[in-house]
Amino acid sequence: MKTPIDITSVSTLIACISLVATLFVIVTEEKVFAADSFTIDSQTNTQDVKGPIKFKVITSANGETTAKKTSTISEPNLGTIDIPFHFKKVNDIVTVGFHDEYFVCGYILDAKTGLTTSYVCNEGDLQSPDVTNAASLSSFLTVAEGKDSKANDVKLNILVPYYDKLDGQKIKVVAMIKGEFQSKIIDEDRTKANIIDPEGTNGKRISVMFTFDRNTDIGKIQLGDEFFACVSANALNPPSGTACEKRHIKTFDEPNVLATGHIR
């Protein structure tokens, strides 16, 4: 005598098998993803921020830089804006390592005008390429008002280190201001190293110039605005393959100088 098939049991069994298969795929993908990339998780505390807003956040690590922008957030005061950034562990210039330096900047934008009302930056050391590195952003600063100026652009003169170990190596230089970034890959060459080290060593530095339009999509660059520069190269190790520094814009009439990375 045949036993009637219990449709409910079969459905449940199929659902379970599907679920296990789905979990397997997800776990497998996660492992593959984790193997060749690392994560910096920007966690922005907006509990004191009144909405509606938009939010732009930019992160630079291991010689790579990414900017993201949100749609309108109507009630930012409800919690934390959590936006992860994923970067390759290995690229053409450098391999990520413990204590590599990175920066994250977040810009609160007026939802209607899209202009910056406040910002905050976090310069950190990578804790590990194998875990999610949390980068907290809080205590927002109001944007610099700045004196009136007719200047259309701002120049950043980034002084990168030169020493024997770096000779002939490629080094990547990233500059960021007001959510915009530019980068250049240069060859370390003794003949280019003609700048006295502002850090007071006997070594010389190479000048890498960047020009930014003062008009950005989140407002005009003003005196007092914070800017960052990072240098990346495997030959910078030890102590780290990426080093970053920050300063504030002091002038539009001449380049704003920032030495990043140390001469060994």
């Binding site: 659902a15 679920l19 997800i26 309108t72 109507s74 890959i185």
Partner: protein, 95 residues
């Protein structure tokens, strides 16, 4: 039990869903690249057609409460460049 397990899968799969009290979309801002230089460009306004380079990507973050009533989420397009005209939205990189 199945319902509860399914919920866990969704939470695991959508790692972006930590913003439990907010809903918004995120877009990657475009970048102009050459072999040795990069230059970021203006971020696209979400929900509008924008001319982009092929580095653009678009993700959406969801959560359970407090939706933005002014902007409805738009579908995810992971390869917008294929359907949009390819142009250079930037000027030349300053050397």
């Amino acid at each position: 039990m199945l319902i509860s397990m399914s919920t866990d899968v969704w939470m695991f799969n959508f790692a972006f869903a930590k913003n439990k009290d907010m809903q918004f979309e995120i877009s990657d801002c475009p970048v102009q690249r050459t072999a040795t230089t990069e230059k970021s460009g203006p971020c696209p306004e979400l929900g509008t057609r924008t001319r982009l380079d092929n580095s653009f990507d678009n993700n959406m973050v969801k959560s359970q409460t407090a939706m933005d009533k002014n902007s409805e989420p738009t579908p995810i397009h992971s390869n917008l460049a294929s359907s949009l005209e390819q142009v250079d939205p930037f000027g030349p990189i300053s050397k």
